[in-house]
Symmetry: C3
Subunit: 262 residues, 3 copies
């Protein structure tokens, strides 16, 4: 199977389009990462909104450009809002991203992940241990952290993509985006990002943002992952510690997208 890369020209084009269109991303995400998710989207040129009540989540998903469903801290009431939002996506053809946090660790959550993955998310964005678990090849991560390399999860990602008819994006030392046939690899980035909570979860939101501005979902997903990798590299050139890395990462997302937009 051929693994290709995203051209710089295409990456720059997609960043420019994102800033120009300012898509509205409806985020139903976990309790821990809401602020960084909103800040990552704002810095990159998108417009985040967290509408969480079941009474209005479907209505809001209907007018959103795309939707993020992140299962970091699911509980019954919030899951109802997620189901309403997904239902609206299906009716409207709105792209949505599933982030199956900690797949393979807890049985209750795994049943939910299975249920939502069957609803054909446009993209499943996950770490290596989560992808391996969803493909039935895993042995569980360390809580919410991956204990496997993304390379080791590539075959599982391709298998999962074929099985779910979703694009699967697996992040790690090298990132891969695959629809089961075609695969794009994105190298670079920096491991210090794993010591800042929400860099992975907010990347799933960025994927949702890019999905709404281009019909090529594989390349749009790869653009989001490329943006995160480039921003990590820009941040690590300025600091080696995670507190200031977090700040530098947000700055870099803004500078990369708004520089590309000029």
């Amino acid at each position: 199977m051929t693994v290709t890369s995203l051209s710089t020209a295409r990456f720059v084009e997609l960043c420019r389009t994102l800033v120009a269109q300012r898509p509205l991303v409806h985020c139903l995400t976990n309790e821990v990462v809401q602020a960084i998710t909103a800040n990552v989207l704002l810095a990159s040129g998108a417009s985040p909104a967290m509408v969480v009540a079941n009474d209005e989540a479907g209505d809001f998903a209907s007018i959103a450009s795309s939707v993020l469903i992140n299962l970091g801290t699911p509980y019954p009431e919030r899951l109802q809002a997620m189901r309403s939002a997904i239902d609206a996506c299906q009716k409207k053809g709105t792209p949505w991203v599933l982030d199956p946090v900690a797949a393979g660790v807890l049985p209750w959550r795994d049943r939910i992940i299975k249920e939502l993955a069957a609803l054909k998310p446009t993209v499943i964005r996950a770490n290596a241990s989560e992808v391996l678990a969803m493909a039935g090849m895993g042995h569980g991560g360390h809580g919410v952290d991956s204990t496997d390399s993304s390379r080791a999860a590539l075959v599982a990602a391709q298998h999962l993509a074929t099985q779910t008819q979703s694009i699967v994006a697996v992040t790690g030392e090298e990132d891969y985006v695959t629809d089961g046939n075609r695969t794009i690899a994105i190298a670079g980035g920096h491991a210090l990002a794993t010591l800042v909570v929400g860099t992975g979860c907010s990347l799933s939101a960025l994927v949702a943002a890019f999905l709404s501005i281009d019909n090529n979902a594989l390349e749009a997903t790869a653009a989001a992952m490329t943006l995160a990798k480039r921003a990590q590299e820009k941040a690590i050139s300025q600091t080696q510690s995670p507190g200031s890395f977090r700040t530098a990462y947000i700055d870099a997302l803004f500078e990369l997208t708004h520089g590309a937009a000029q």
Copy 2:
């Protein structure tokens, strides 16, 4: 209608009083901005507390200096706690602020906003699209972001103030505070603040803090908005990117209030 400004001497006096009195601000706010709201209040000299269970929200509002009600992520249980807190404010004469996030976008939320606005908040703090929507003159924002200028919402703000008997504070390129008769304008600030989640929501908390330390609610509200504008200007003199702007903004709030306090 005359538009006046807040004198520097009065602004400095109110900042000094805030730091000296350290008012206790009970915040019932949205999920996304809780940390920045607390940090903005702490940096400015107030003492934030988020008490969210309906079982104790009324009791806590009874001992708080002021209360913030922000409708960014409402859901039924949390709304009950908000109603209990508002009820306590009405019994005790405690000032409270309503932040009607995304007014005009979703019908369920609009019914709640209408219900709570009828309970006579001391101040309604909102962006231009929200004020226009509440005054029945709007066409809806872009999710939670304003698509209108504050200048365009000034007449709507004055109308809404007369209608609700609340002070209305509308933020944008220029901020306006009005009771329907008198209007104070606050110029300055910087648009990069709109790329940091929670700068608007935490300003509503700052308004609540200032309301508790002075009987002139119009001027107290204007002082909070002046503080935010001055802190944005101080921050933009240090950085042009939103991650470090967020940090510089909190620093500036502290330096402006605690410098004023000396």
Copy 3:
């Protein structure tokens, strides 16, 4: 009663062990501080996870290295998840920390604190006003902030430790850790930390992390508190304002633990 200190060699050893073992800390904490709690744990070498549904909180606590129960924003559903997690801790012998935020201020909350304190937490980590309230010697804090000095709460802490059979850790200008007989004092730190939301709450999470890597709970708790004090000192040497202090504090936690690990 003798008050001793933790040796530097022991502190360094415990930091090295933390980084080497990367314990999984299950945090059931308040809405305001979830991100800083995760970032403090990640920077210090631990692996945080917030699993909040009652449907899976017990299962996750069963596989966690330690558990944090923080009562900053309790409500009935979340309390059920906390009880399930505590139950799992008792069955497995997993250490857990109780952070009784705002003890002595609100009757509903005080009943919960009393109920959970009776379940023999390994450590109760609190500010001076909270310790005085729990020991029945208090007059209430200012919302969630302490109005008493830690020195004034030392006798209450020793009394509370004897009464609950828990270790009691009281933070303030000087920190104390006591089991009722032995007491370790930790000096230093900086008061600016009290203007950054979550420094206290995330310290309780750090205590949970250290508890899981050493059988001497008194010294493990003291090591967590020493780490926080040293990181505050490192941060204040770089900035005098709370926004950048927050960033510098996270950086310092990383540098102190990962430097110690080399």
